[in-house]
């Protein structure tokens, strides 16, 4: 176990280093003099020189990269030029909003995807199976921002049941908070539900054909018990790890969902930053999302190994 952890951590290290290089390298794509961009309207040479000095723009790129990494390691992700606050504090402020959204979306996805997958595997090649597969194709092919707009039209504009936009924090008023996040969370979880359904179906079909299921049936156990206790338990392992992994994808899908529902989260932060040419914020968001994604990957691997003793050793 310890050897596995060490090996896995050693594998992650170069990935994180290269990710940081890529994110830093994005700056090099910007046309023109970064000092001019940062100075905005102010073209005073003294100001430009001060900016160059402050951001080490006179140093070669590798040196600047090291300065940047040093800052990041000290929790300094740079400064938002527009909002005049540190990127780290912006991230800390917005991340919980998106985490709430993503967690609710994951609940939707698990709650819809897994039962649908079980039913379609058990009732293979029936109308149930057919219906579940159509649902999966629909989920995979619907752009979530379109689904969001349609839901706003139905539930906010036409029926007037739910607010079309805005966000209330969970701690402030939990009912209002749920009312503002239930639609976006459903929209965000929709595609993942489809992915989980397909994987559950595949894993269940495999488990139902396994020897231990035949043994359980031969013992005379009821079919429902065979499905739920024997097949499902074994089929769930890959599905749960996939769910953990896909949590990272939810963070990136939240960019569009938050835009549609005007939720002041992580995704809105990066989009607003893009349009205000607030590049330090863009880099900060990409870095934090990637780090979360890499750590989730690690967590999924560890979980997979814990539940699958054959992989230990």
């Amino acid at each position: 176990m310890l050897a596995f952890l060490t090996r896995r951590l050693l594998q992650i290290l170069p990935t994180i280093v290269i990710v940081s290089m890529l994110i830093f390298g994005l700056q090099q794509l910007l046309p023109g003099d970064p000092a001019l961009i940062m100075a905005g309207e102010d073209r005073d040479p003294a100001v430009l020189e001060q900016i160059r000095e402050q951001y080490h723009l006179n140093d070669p790129v590798p040196v600047r990269y090291l300065y940047w990494v040093k800052g990041v390691l000290h929790g300094d992700l740079g400064e938002s030029m527009r909002l005049k606050s540190s990127v780290a504090s912006l991230v800390a402020e917005k991340l919980p909003v998106t985490l709430q959204l993503a967690a609710m979306a994951l609940l939707f996805a698990l709650g819809i995807g897994i039962p649908a997958g079980i039913v379609s595997a058990v009732k293979k090649e029936t109308a149930w199976d057919y219906g579940a597969n159509v649902f999966a194709l629909w989920g995979l092919s619907t752009p979530n921002f379109w689904l969001g707009i349609l839901m706003i039209f139905l539930f906010s504009v036409t029926l007037g049941w739910l607010p079309a936009s805005g966000y209330v924090r969970l701690g402030e008023d939990w009912r209002q908070s749920l009312a503002t996040t239930i639609m976006p969370a459903f929209v965000l979880g929709n595609a993942l539900a489809a992915v989980l359904m397909r994987h559950t179906r595949g894993a269940m079909l495999q488990a139902m054909g396994a020897d231990y299921v035949r043994t359980a049936r031969a013992k005379g156990l009821q079919e429902g018990r065979v499905v739920l206790k024997h097949a499902l338990r074994n089929a769930m392992t890959p599905v749960i790890t996939l769910g953990a992994l896909e949590f990272g994808t939810l963070l990136s899908g939240a960019v569009l969902t938050e835009q549609v529902f005007t939720i002041p989260g992580f995704g809105k932060l990066i989009v607003d930053a893009v349009f205000n040419r607030d590049y330090a914020v863009v880099q900060g968001v990409v870095l934090v999302t990637s780090t979360i994604y890499i750590l989730l990957n690690l967590a999924a691997d560890i979980a997979y190994m814990l539940v699958n003793p054959r992989l230990r050793g």
């Binding site: 046309p31 752009p143 379109w146 899908g253 960019v255 590049y279 890499i294």
Partner: protein, 296 residues
Amino acid sequence: MTVASSSSSADSALAAREENPWGRAWRRLRRRKGALIGLAVVALFVLLAVLAPWIAPYDPTATSWSLVRKPPSWAHWFGTDEVGRDVLSRVIWGARASLGAGLVSVSIAAGFGVPLGLLAGYAGGWIDAALSRVVDAMLAIPFLILAIALAAFLGPSLGNAMIAIGVTATPVFVRLTRGQTLAAKVEDYVEAARAVGNPHWRIALRHVLPNIVPPLLIQASLAIAGAIIAEAALSFLGLGQQPPAPSWGSMLNTAQRFIAQAPWMAIWPGLAIFAAVLSFNLLGDGLRDALDPRHK
């Protein structure tokens, strides 16, 4: 013996007698209703995109103040938008942006990804190690976030969106090609090609590559679906096609502001994205069933 990369023989009587792998794949693909529907819709969209100037009933950018936000009618089947442009014409022209983005970005991804994957898989050693680490790193950044960041730093335009999506989709092609190349490298026919003294580049291009085309085709079809959604997403955010040029994503962006007054503005471009993405997904699924011998 390697697979000739000639076009598929549609003649089923002939294909049944001397089964060429592409003929067999086509026969299997034809049996799948979903894949055929997908293929038909894809063909329809390609026709729309190519023939847009002749099919579209109106100029997609012509505004008219007397026709602002009119509901669907005989003159304007899909209604008109907030400055009186014909929505149907914009949806038809929008097919160009979407399919173009799908094709161009997947060509970029495959154009870089396949040679790099072949190189990594065939050469192995430090080249493989270095390339694989970069691929790992790129895959560690969520797809849309990386595409947004690239598009942001490159500047908002349809061309840059295509580049951003293409670059972001490249690592998947590298990884797939590398894996397939590793598997093909140890096959007997590669061994035989090596034994008769073929140079490495010839083995890689003439013997390995043709044999790993099927999984790449499946991946390409699914990647086009992903690229169309990604282009629509970037255009929706304002990072792709710039107004007044039509694109399904940017149409949805405007439509959202008028959802209460003019819901038809949101219905059609969204349906178009959905239909295009669904048909490429169906086609990809069908190709997988037809081309992958392990998959039943």
